[in-house]
Symmetry: C2
Subunit: 270 residues, 2 copies
Amino acid sequence: MRSAFYISDGTAITAEVFGHALLSLFTVEFKHQTVPFVETEQQAKDVLNKISESFQESGQRPLVFYTIVNTEIRKMISKSVGINYNFLDQFVAPLEKALGVYSMPEKHRTHSIHEKTYDIRIDAVNYALANDDGSNIKDYNEADIILCGVSRSGKTPTSLYLALQYGIKAANYPFTEEDMGDVLKLPPALKRFKKKLFGLTIMAERLHQIRSERRANSRYASMQQCRMELREVENLYRKEKIPFLNSTKFSIEEMSAKILAQTGLQRRKY
Amino acid sequence: MRSAFYISDGTAITAEVFGHALLSLFTVEFKHQTVPFVETEQQAKDVLNKISESFQESGQRPLVFYTIVNTEIRKMISKSVGINYNFLDQFVAPLEKALGVYSMPEKHRTHSIHEKTYDIRIDAVNYALANDDGSNIKDYNEADIILCGVSRSGKTPTSLYLALQYGIKAANYPFTEEDMGDVLKLPPALKRFKKKLFGLTIMAERLHQIRSERRANSRYASMQQCRMELREVENLYRKEKIPFLNSTKFSIEEMSAKILAQTGLQRRKY
């Protein structure tokens, strides 16, 4: 199998994202290898050897995606036996022209620590954890958004992603049987914060499957119970005009991006 | 201020990552605007209007980074009044030549749901939450890695990032005063899993600052206490040959990438 290398003197996240986006256009399988923090000549030599070995083993020239700030290291990697994509470089000159200023590559380091947004994200993660699963309704005034939905509809991973990726404080509230009663009404704890609410829902079959993995053959996991709960929450969302999304066919990234787009919520980290 | 637009008929994460990496080479400030899920002609028209308005307001042509699968929508956006970077496109033809196959753009959708890795990530997030902060030492046999360190040294956000981004099951264990005694020894719960341990440490000044935000003027937050705890854990790491990292100057992304690189741990999602 042909190898794809993602190399950087930083995290290599940029090289990975770009390389994956490009390779996903092809229905070919690759062996992915990320090599971050290549900061010394020796480390660069080691990577070049890995690339050569991979070429010899597979008989196919590896694809090499890289972003490297250090000029010497960059030059070394650019001479690998692979097919090299230094994809940032060819956009720099046109962008310099468009902006009318020179680039400052030595300042370049995405995904590294920026004190300000770093603390914001850690605070947001701590907030999401402290306000997960309806555990702490007294701090909802601090929330940027309150995700609500039935148990196992995707609230927790989405809250954490919003916190880690965007620095958004997302609480989440699970509608329980207690809330359901005869007809699900907006729980008193949420009424004051109605404008912050965002509903999640999910297909009954998928919910049944997820819950069955947790508690097989329970009433909690039964199709009947799943259908009933989802009907109630969707009715509530419509009645109370709470914006909502069905998480069944979306990734965590898609859910989060859709929530931002739909609510106009401002992220704290770009 | 000049605007930078990140546009896609998906999450726009690829456009953002590429655009940010490129713009971070310049010491110029931009107004960032992400517009994900541009799927209809009307939505494309709305974006084109936004770009035109931004041009009129600022007098500077906005930068437009986009990845769009739909041909019609892509054509529309490529005619914006901004400076357009369809950065994937120019790499496709050379890559087709290198691979000897045509690209299948209609199959292209990174950051969308892939059932298999999706479940792996959700499982990993649930595992990280259930095994956060030493709460559940009985499931360490399931862990891919066990992060250890003193309170507030960065264990929880790192565990969650490893889970969300890579599908890695990371437990975390906080060394407490009980563990310290006269000299910190490896707690019995961790002995069996020594090969899975990865230590975090942090500079005393930074730890003091973080703890002071939580409990000002407490013994817990005092410089003396912070110094003592950090000295003990670092001695333990060295004595027991536990690999460790100082989190003070690294982002969550950098910590996670360094941990993968240092341990050789295989991620479950690429």
